[in-house]
């Protein structure tokens, strides 16, 4: 196992850990904006994982999904905010 792949495994593990922690924040909340933030970070984590996985496999095509995810994670956050905003207005 080369240094590089070790790095990747380490990165993947850390990101998985992040994912779990984000999940915990999501679960404990306590407010909706907290959950939305957690969701946001969740998306960022997943993009990171996709990036690492892309290096893992050496298959460039996977990162395209990362791009799309980065575009759409934003849409998700905006939508949730929109929801909260609309229900107060």
């Amino acid at each position: 196992m080369s240094l590089f792949s070790f790095t990747l495994i380490f990165a993947m593990a850390s990101l998985s850990l992040c994912l779990v922690m984000t999940g915990i924040r999501f679960a404990i909340g306590p407010t909706l904006p907290d959950r939305i933030t957690a969701f946001d970070l969740f998306v960022a984590n997943i993009i990171g994982m996709v990036a690492i996985y892309t290096e893992f496999t050496g298959n460039e095509d996977f990162i395209d999904v990362g791009i799309i995810l980065s575009l759409f994670g934003f849409l998700g956050s905006i939508s949730f905010a929109y929801y909260l905003m609309k229900s107060t207005r």
């Binding site: 790095t7 904006p33 933030t37 946001d40 990171g48």
Partner: protein, 133 residues
């Protein structure tokens, strides 16, 4: 001379370093997300260690692949993230204020009182509908 340098190895090392730094940043901000006392602090703390971390990871990846395609994509993602994640944070933060998400008790809100007063009186009528969403 150039032939003796193992470009792949250099790339791998640079990439590894960047990735590890990025991942560490990300992990730390995730811990912050768990630890910090109120919503706004959590938000400002991670907005965005995560963004920086992600940027570093992606840069590392771009260097590893060393192809124009990849660079373009990496730049695209970084650009998107740097543009969108603060906007999202702003929008969510603003919404949180409007939804009366409380600040940490040690927060200095002196300069914010006017704003809060204005916002909340404007929406008092709608509070009823918003007890639980």
């Amino acid at each position: 001379m150039l032939d003796n340098i193992n470009f792949l190895l250099i790339r791998e090392i640079v990439s590894s370093v960047l990735i590890i730094i990025g991942v560490v940043f990300m992990t730390i901000s995730t811990i912050g997300l768990l630890r910090f006392p109120d919503f706004y602090i959590r938000m400002s703390a991670i907005t965005k260690g995560a963004t920086l971390g992600l940027g570093l990871i992606l840069t590392g990846m771009g260097i590893y692949f060393n192809e124009p395609d990849m660079f373009l994509k990496v730049m695209l993602i970084i650009g998107f993230t740097f543009l969108t994640s603060p906007v999202a944070a702003h929008v969510i933060g603003r919404t949180a204020v409007r939804n009366k998400i409380p600040f940490w008790e040690r927060t200095n809100l002196e300069e914010f009182k006017d704003y809060l007063h204005k916002e909340h009186s404007a929406h008092r009528d709608h509070e009823r509908d918003n007890k639980q969403v």
